[in-house]
Amino acid sequence: MAVAVTRAPARPFARPKAEHGFWSWISTVDHKRIGILYGVTAFLFFLVGGTEALMIRMQLAAPNGKVLSAEEYNQLFTMHGTTMVFLVIMPLAAAFGNYFVPILIGARDVAFPRLNAFGYWAFLAGGSLLYSSFLFGGAPNGGWFGYAPQTIGKFSPGHGIDFWLVGLVITGIGSLTAAANFIVTTLNLRAPGMTMMRMPVFVWMNLVVSFLLLFAIPIITVALFELYFDRNFGSNFFNANIGGDPVLWQHLFWLFGHPEVYILILPAMGIVSEVLPVFSRKPLFGYSVVVFSGIAIGFMGWGVWAHHMFAVGLGPVANSAFAASTMFIAVPTGVKIFNWLATTWGGDLRLKTPMLFALGFIGMFTIGGLSGVTHSIVPSDYQQTDTYYIVAHFHYVLFGGAIFGLFSGAYYWAPVVTGKMLDETLGKIHFWLMLIGFNLAFGPMHILGLQGQPRRTYQYPKGMGWDFWNAVSTIGAFTIALSILTFTINVIKTTRSKEHAPPDPWDARTLEWTIPTPPPEYNFAEIPVVHSRDDFWHRKYTEDENGRLVKIPSGGSDEASGLHEQQAEHDDHGGHGHGIHMPSPSYFPALASVGIMIIGYGAIYHWWIGAVGGVILLAGVFGWGNEPLSE
């Protein structure tokens, strides 16, 4: 392609050109590479957060544990919770969303590629700033919920809580941009024929999550700012001495915090809704009901937050109302569970690793959901609140639910992302170790909680009758660690293997399997035209008069008509896709995030550090604005 070199506009930075190596990753705006960045970073945070959990479990393995001091214990459980929620599950969901939403709707990229990159860098900046607190005098120690006034300056001196506040504001900026981006992408960039009710459920759930993020993030941001001003500028939002209301913090936090629960679980529900039909060789049972249940959860998720506050003393009217709404939100969730079961019912089940994780998700999430319903009963919750029963519940939902679902997605989609299959044997070992370890670790916590073991307490005395189950729980935690090690080995083995995955290895149903793996930068050489839900499946199969599946005969378009055409197109383009104009890489999103991170340090230490960050941020924003999207 002969291109006359035109006058390069004078700019402080030359437009990045690297296609490989370090700088290509810094400057990438390709949604797939950003998805990989999210995934790898979140997995590293997962290892860190998991290590924190192991240290907590070592401390609690026996009465009067001596592994950690009380202060270290507080820092570790705070960072464990914060990490797993904000730096692991949310970005892992963003990883899958980034990589697959554009492909699943037949688009070439997201609506705002550079904003997408910025979202990732803001997440990394916030997470890094949060973790740098370990180097600067101690990590935050106020719990992931940061209850004020416990966290105001008088009671939590030092900068730990400030790191927590600023770090979460910055990751929140990233989440917000990602959410706006996903919403616009999903609404605007769907391929012809991809109507809303033909979209894969994962795309739907990602859309619902994006709306939840859009409305939940600003609420916690306000809470974080108020506490930040209390700690640093002498405001008195949470100073109970002159009328500050501790319940205000709880309302703001949980008004964010409960939608956040659905932000964490809905992407996993979406993944499972993709995996189950493929491995049951049946369409998803009641597609529209699953979609509307997801939307209903999205709405009702705003009306249940005070069930986190039953013991606060809001009064019988508020408690009853929130008890009722909490019971009610179990309905759409239960509907989904039955739809998943009905999907597998009578299906031609193939128990591959992704399917095992999806089935594990249903089982574990159901247990977590049921223990959740027990919290909705106010008097019962009075007994359970702040005990290990709660810890058991939310780990069944977030680990047994979200993490199992995300691993299901990892095994299912690995062939798309890497072009290689993850090893089945190691995958199954991973699944069974994780399932057993998970139940050993968190099952006993139900019992411990009902026996009264309090949360967030670094030691327990002998003779409480808690010794045995705590020891079991610690063994379970290390079993989980072993399963994660198996997964890591599996990933390393797969990346080293030379064996390319066969096209469409799972005989799947959706568009991501119609393109070469790993996908070319432009995803689709030809934008697909979608004719039905599970479009790819209908290109491969039809039904005979008895309703049995029949492969569409290979009249020129053998098994996967689309795939071959796309591969041929790809080869025609010499693998480069000339003529398809993709957004050019850019340094500015990363630069703007660096600016925000430095502003964050300025907010914790001195205003002049913030001023430096502000200059960098402005440089990033103006550079970004001045640079054309593609050239």
Binding site: A179, F215, D230
Partner: protein, 208 residues
């Protein structure tokens, strides 16, 4: 790009970057999404203030004791007028009148600056009258709420000035009027929020 002939209107096809199923430009839709989020941001701040507006220790002033309603009414009027000049700026670029575009952009930025300056003056007066960020929870919530609004106006001013600068360099052709429209959406939103703040925070009296 300088061409003698007006370019044919570009109709984005699926796969093009500016393709839009809804027919709404993606950038505009993204801005609406952001503003929806901002509603909750100000909603949470206003809620905090509603909870705290009358709370102060015995004998300590609450914001209502120091409000100067006529003064704030004037500055509110100034801000509202800036919405008018913003509309005129958009109309100017849609007509292709770049000179008036810059005039109205600068007028909008000027009115915004007048408002922010007025807020700085108001804060200074309040501080002298014994109301600052620390005096009471009512004062804390007042200053943080109105302060964040002021920050939003300031960001808007920078945005408008940047647009005027880009236009001055000849880099804001008439077909890019969407950039002005999006800045306008933000600006009008910030104005509308102020109407709410002025009513709820300043005008609605405290119960005694």
């Amino acid at each position: 790009m300088q061409t003698a002939i007006a370019p044919a209107p570009h109709t984005p096809a699926p796969g093009d970057h500016d393709y839009s199923v809804t027919g709404i430009d993606s950038r505009k839709l993204g801005m609406w999404g952001f503003l929806a989020s901002e509603c909750l941001f100000f909603g949470a701040l206003i809620s905090s203030h509603l909870l705290y507006r009358a709370r102060a220790p015995q004998g300590v002033k609450v914001p209502h004791d120091v409000y100067d309603i006529p003064y704030t009414s004037v500055s509110s009027f100034v801000l509202l007028m800036s919405s008018l000049t913003m509309v005129l700026a958009l109309a100017a670029i849609q007509r292709g009148d770049h000179h008036r575009l810059r005039i109205w952009l600068l007028a909008t930025a000027f009115l915004g600056t007048l408002f922010v300056g007025g807020q700085v003056y108001e804060f200074t007066v309040f501080t002298h009258e014994g109301l600052n960020l620390s005096t009471s929870v009512a004062a804390s919530s007042f200053f943080v709420l109105t302060g964040f609004h002021g920050v939003h106006v300031t960001v808007g001013i920078l945005w408008l000035l940047s647009l005027a600068g880009i236009s001055l360099r000849g880099k804001l052709p008439a077909e890019n009027h969407l950039w002005v429209e999006i800045a306008g959406l933000y600006w009008h939103f910030v104005d509308v929020v102020w109407i709410l703040i002025f009513t709820v925070v300043y005008l609605v009296p405290n119960k005694h």
